[in-house]
């Protein structure tokens, strides 16, 4: 990817990075050339180790059924983690996402069961609209208090962590709201919550077409500006890897049948939502001014302000996005459980923050990627899933998850120090 200019570097003292990557130079260069993110590749490798490890322990991990379920389980955290990346990149934190998920989910379940008639077409639509608006409103509130009233986000959202958990209880005085609308349950990935083999392949092929178009058009554009491009065979290799990944994933999701039949389930709706949001954020949103400004604020808030960036407004929008994503996660969580409970999403903030950090989001701000964080979400969920398969008690699971969070942040600190020498 790098573009060499013709003039030589000035002095050896200021020769930039290569020296520090001395030992892995060839690998680094290959990765840069192929457009691969080395950190992302490292995570995929870590994920593979975890998967194989659990499979060797249990014999159950690497089965279509478990991987299908793992993806559905990952979707609650996976939907939220993109928002958390933006929040952390902008040098903020949101500790309230689990409670907001629980509160919004409870309000939606209450409206659906107690207020609106069940099984009419507009019921799920209305409850979802209410949920999304509520999420946006809560996010806007957080953003306003953080950006305009200048209360540290750690405190604001710590307060909300407690307040909205209480709120979730207060909606129904702790009563569980069930059962929910049948159409609404589609979002949970249950028995009616996947799109079948045919539509899965249609979706997969559409993704492949878009991928190929993206690689071809960006190559053409780089050509037009006279930038260096990869050799043609390299381009083919990169496209083939990407296409193979998409096709393999669809095939895997199509390998898990409905109980007692051979009819494949196909892609689960919550997984589609997670992937859809992830792709939307890492392509469309990523190419906007907004995205650039979030990163600029994270990199140097003063520089952002001096450049005329409306830093407060950007921060507010970041929290609104986080709130809406927590609401969407609330839809998935309640639909999956087919019930609204006041404990939904408890400790989810931990998994979400851990997923973001494992995915390469730096707590010092300015650095983070959505694909990395999504893999981080799958990684966190793999740990939980594998420990359940191993029959570990939930208390021990919490110990491991807490330890992984601290370990991930420590690794990030080491990585940052290494980068800065």
């Amino acid at each position: 990817m790098s573009v060499e200019t013709t003039a030589p570097r000035q002095t050896p003292a200021e020769a930039p990075p290569p020296a520090r990557f001395g030992r892995v130079n060839v690998f680094q260069r290959f990765a840069a050339w192929a457009g691969f993110d080395t950190r992302l590749m490292g995570m995929v490798a870590a994920l593979a180790v975890i998967w194989v490890g659990f499979h060797l322990q249990t014999g159950l991990f690497l089965t279509p059924r478990n991987l299908w379920n793992l993806m559905v389980q990952s979707s609650v955290v996976g939907v939220m983690v993109g928002g958390m990346v933006l929040v952390i990149v902008a040098r903020q934190i949101d500790l309230s996402v689990g409670s907001v998920l629980g509160f919004v989910g409870m309000v939606m379940a209450f409206m659906q069961v107690q207020v609106f008639p069940l099984e009419v077409w507009w019921n799920p639509l209305a409850t979802i609209l209410i949920g999304l608006s509520l999420g946006a409103l809560i996010g806007a509130f957080h953003g306003y208090v953080v950006a305009y009233l200048e209360v540290p986000s750690f405190i604001v959202t710590l307060g909300s962590l407690l307040a909205f958990r209480g709120g979730a209880w207060l909606v129904t005085s702790g009563r569980t709201m069930a059962p929910l609308d049948t159409t609404y349950q589609i979002f949970g990935g249950g028995i009616n919550g996947s799109i079948g083999a045919t539509w899965s392949w249609v979706g997969g092929l559409a993704a492949i077409v878009i991928l190929v178009w993206y690689f071809v058009s960006s190559r053409a554009r780089r050509r037009k500006y006279g930038f260096t491009v990869r050799p043609l065979w390299g381009e083919f290799l990169v496209i083939a890897i990407n296409v193979g990944f998409v096709a393999g994933f669809v095939q895997l999701m199509n390998s898990y049948p409905f109980p007692g039949t051979t009819v494949p389930r196909g892609l689960p709706v919550p997984v589609l939502m997670m992937l859809g949001l992830g792709i939307l954020m890492s392509t469309v949103l990523r190419s906007t001014r907004f995205w650039r400004y979030v990163f600029a604020i994270g990199g140097n808030p003063e520089a952002a302000r001096f450049s005329g960036i409306p830093t407060r407004r950007i921060t507010l929008v970041v929290f609104v996005i986080m709130g809406v994503l927590a609401a969407i996660a609330g839809i998935i969580a309640t639909a999956r459980l087919n019930a609204g409970t006041n404990s939904a999403g408890e400790l989810a903030e931990l998994s979400v923050i851990a997923a973001a950090v494992i995915g390469g989001t730096s707590l010092s701000g300015g650095v983070g990627s959505i694909p990395g964080a999504m893999i981080g979400a799958v990684l966190m969920e793999s740990l939980r899933n594998g420990m359940v398969l191993m029959d570990l008690p939930s208390a021990l699971q919490n110990v491991v998850q807490g330890a992984v969070l601290v370990l991930a942040v420590w690794l990030d600190v080491v990585y940052q120090r290494y980068r800065r020498r």
């Binding site: 790098s2 200021e14 190419s287 005329g308």
Partner: protein, 257 residues
Amino acid sequence: MERQPLVEMRSIYKAFGGVHALEDVTVDLYAGEVVGLVGHNGAGKSTLIKILSGVYGADSGRIFIDGQEVTIRNPRDARGHGIETIYQNLALADNLDAPANIFLGREIMRGISLNEDAMEAESRKVLNRLRISVPSLRESVLNLSGGQRQAVAIGRAIYFNARILIMDEPTAALGPQEARQVGELIKQLKGQGLGIFLISHDIHDVFDHADRISVLKTGRLVGTVRTAEVTKDDVLTMIIAGTLPGKTQGNAAVAGG
């Protein structure tokens, strides 16, 4: 210089709380000229230029550009008048690449999308114009040398056809060779008709580049002198004692107080 000044800041006052940061300070700047602003820490140099670049508002005083009175409420207004600032701490976002920094706040768009390729191509042009090589434009500026980072900051100013450049300690963070490069850049920009306010602690630096020198002490203007007509000792006396040497410039402001 009988022409109209490019910038005139007249009787600027600014207080922070009860502390008078600036009292009745008047400076001016012509096209193709470098004016050095010198003084101790806390003399008011940075406050003065932050008022011109829109970071602070003045409590009172007037600013003229090409003889027209202007109001500068924020950095955007300042940029609208062709005023660009290169801050002491460079004001670069370390995590972004050079094109992102050069175009920060003024991105080239294609619909709702950033036109990264166009910005990269334009960045390369502007850096070539500065005769500074940056090996990889897609790398975050964190990995660039001090001189290269300074070039990015300057490139950002001149790309948008700045007419008035404010440089706050442009060489403070640089090695001798890089400082020389920046010196070359200043000459080059001056030759292109820009007016430059140069703020520096380093009296030698100022003597090398400035045509005139304005000295501030505890928020007041001691005076403005032509570099060719004074010695370094004269200027040092102004900085330390706050008194003018015998031979001030005719149209210079009188010592405050």
